[in-house]
């Protein structure tokens, strides 16, 4: 198992280097650089700009610039954010942490509710409740996350129950520890719901389909035939087998959450990685864009790795291969 994980990590390194090369090429293609804003500012002398050009290595050839960046990136230094005037790595880590909180909570929310509803609708196949859930699922699968976000924003604005912007209240610093946690959870609720509900329907449909498939397997029929209680058959025999493909989905969901989180973060002003990269792009903050693209890619690759490990853990057939 450990060997498997190590092998996967080693394979991921060239991919990450490839990602960084690709990002670097894309960013080099952009017209101008972030010093352009300073060049048009008459208050800044030419010497200062020359000094900064030299300091950031902008006067060197592109290939050399890339290796300079790579050398420092390996040691954990992703350069200096121009617009935030802070090292990129510290900026990214705090933001990545916020995105991670959002992603994980919505993941947990969607998985618990999704699997529950999936089991419910499989066990109540073709009843009114099942039909309603199916229709909702189809609509949910067609709804863009940002539109759901806007609808939630609408209800929040009408009722005023939940805060709608940011991650903390103005008086967050003066709260007790428990108050602080409650405050963050309150702010977290709507973006989490927007992200989670979209995921939920997919999981629900998958769970329903899998469980219905498994219910016709011989071992389930045998368990029923030998007179086992229905609950034991469902939860011990059928469910354990039906859930395997969903475990693979879990890891990939973690990865695709990153993309979905971007717009949600912008709508709800959640200080996460998506919003950071959006602003960095608008400001042409090269190193910040590079850093966040790389970290988000690493998170995606990590998510896929987690998916494979989870599957290997749950399904011995995969492990033996």
């Amino acid at each position: 198992m450990l060997k498997y994980i190590i092998r996967r990590i080693i394979v991921a390194i060239p991919v990450l280097i490839g990602v960084s090369v690709l990002c670097f090429i894309i960013i080099q293609m952009a017209p101008g650089d972030f010093l352009d804003q300073l060049r048009i500012n008459p208050a800044i002398s030419k010497e200062t700009i020359d000094k900064m050009t030299h300091q950031f290595g902008l006067d060197k050839p592109v290939v050399e610039q890339y290796f300079m960046w790579l050398k420092s990136a390996v040691t954990g230094n992703f350069g200096y954010s121009y617009s935030y005037r802070r090292p990129v790595s510290s900026l990214i880590w705090s933001r990545a942490y916020n995105t991670f909180i959002l992603a994980i909570t919505s993941l947990i929310f969607s998985w618990i509710i999704g699997i529950g509803l999936g089991i419910f609708s499989a066990l109540h196949k073709y009843t009114a409740a099942d039909h309603i859930l199916t229709v909702l699922a189809f609509i949910g699968l067609a709804t863009p996350a940002f539109f759901l976000g806007l609808i939630l924003l609408y209800f929040a604005a009408r009722t005023g129950t939940f805060p709608i912007t940011g991650m903390t209240s103005v008086n967050h610093e003066h709260m007790t520890t428990i108050g602080k946690i409650v405050d963050i959870l309150k702010h977290l609720f709507l973006p989490m719901l927007a992200l989670g509900l979209i995921r939920l329907v997919g999981i629900m449909r998958q769970m329903r389909g899998q469980l219905l498939d498994v219910m016709h397997e011989d071992y389930v029929l045998f368990a029923v035939a030998k007179g086992m209680p229905r609950n034991v058959v469902i939860y011990k025999h059928a469910l354990r087998n039906a859930i395997n493909p969903l475990i693979t989905m879990f890891g990939y969901a973690l990865a695709s959450l990153l993309s979905g989180a971007l717009i949600i973060e912008i709508i709800f002003s959640w200080p996460g990685l998506g919003r950071l990269i959006y602003n960095a792009l608008l400001e042409q903050d090269v190193y910040l864009v590079m850093g966040s693209l790389l970290i988000s890619s690493a998170m995606l690759i990590g998510g896929n790795l987690v998916a494979d490990i989870l599957l290997a853990w749950a399904d011995p057939r995969v492990r033996l291969r």
Binding site: P14, V15, L16, G18, V19, L22, C23, I26, I27, M29, A30, P31, F138, I139, L141, A142, T143, P144, F146, F147, L150, I151, L153, Y154, A156, A157, R158, I164, A255, S256, L258, S259, G260, L262, I263, I266, I267, G274, I277, Y278, L281, L282, V289, S292, L293, S296, S297, M299, L300, I301
Partner: protein, 505 residues
Amino acid sequence: MKREENTAKNLEDSFERQYLSRTQLLLRAFKKSKLAIISFWVLVFFYIVAILAGFLSPYDPYVNELKSSYSPPTRIHFFYNGKFTAPYVFKTQTIINPLTYERSSAERLELASIRGRNNNKQFEFTKDKVAQIDLSIREIINAYTDDGKKVELSNKTKTVNNLLKNERGILTDKRVVRVYKDRYMIDAYRDSFDYGYKLQGLKVVKIVRIFTLDSIMVMTNDFNIHTISGSTVKIDNYTFKRYPIKFFIHSWRYHLLGIIPSTLHLFGTSDDSRVYLFGSDKFGRDVFTRILYGSRISLSIGLIGVAITFSLGLFLGGISGFYGGITDEALMRTTEIIMSIPGFYLLITLRAILPMDIPSTQIYLLLVIILSFIGWPSMSRVIRGMVLSIKKREFVEAAIALGLPKRRIIWKHILPNTTTYVIVAATLSIPGYILGEAGLSFLGLGIREPQSSWGLMLAQAQDTYVIAHAPWLLLPGFFIIVTVLAFNLLGDGLRDAFDPRSLGM
């Protein structure tokens, strides 16, 4: 009896299986899924609407009309005084609450004709004689304290040429009384700049507003003004100006199918009344019109994007799978790298590095190219896998043995075998392009004002204040959902139809 029916059906089935062509069988299988058929016709309808957008929209999508900013959907009336009539609308008006400064919109009713008595003298002004009827209304505001004392806050007359619906009573009763007892209204009066100082230190329990009709001024078409005033005025009958909805009228200019100049529109209203089916946006543009124009972007970007992605995917996937070796390695590693960057992150990065201030047609092309760039890797990986397995089949080996050129083998023998998959996958991946465009436009990185796109229209609804007061701005989202849903269901139907088991083969 039942068994006989079944055998008859079976016989027919086996007959069809034997003698119908593959296309007929496919059609037969496809027709079995009702949802897919419905989705198909919904999409056909949407495409026709998108093509005829200019004819169907009552107003110019690019002309601002700040007077009717955030006007709610216009109410279309079918009844007048309980009688069924041709559809008509009233003019609408923005009202600013003098106490809270909140804006709202309401129908304004203008008098068209009036008949009544004054001092037992009959007067009558019919619709064809009247130019305008003004009403002079006196408004008295009184506040009552808990010990029964009365404080007069205001006593003014104003002249209006229209009434709000809930003020209609003034014509028949000549006197309307409103009583406010709730805390919110009383506090609003207490906090207001005009009346607040009169209520200092008093415990107000209710506010009473009394409206009385002072006089009626009728301007006739020959520019005579008749003033009817006095306490003995009694109005027997009156009508309001109605603005009928007209069909096939000539108004703003557009190009039908992009070439034929035309001014003919399906519907509209007369004079300066407006009919906003879905309300209007911040700049007073008709949301209905802009949804129709926006549908052109959303409906076409998917088709064009898929066409580009699939040509690229088929070409690169085909080469990669057929030749193998170093080409295959290089291509597959590239796809892996592109797929390792979260899709939407890559999307906005690519968009952000490309120039922003370019003409809208070029932005559209850029979006298509960017969306296709994100889409091709997964596509070519699947095609590669399919080519690898088809390559080992006998008919390909035979073609190689016959010495056919490789290009011909790929295009004529291998790729046609992926058609089924490609059609289904193409239909199912169109929603991705629609959502991608909507998302980019929503973030301000896609289609730009004054052009219209569903995502861009939703961007206006990001503001909490706007969204709470003009929820009709969310409507484009429902069109996105319906379109995406239709493509999903159509794709599912096609997949089931192409499944060999459903063909009965």
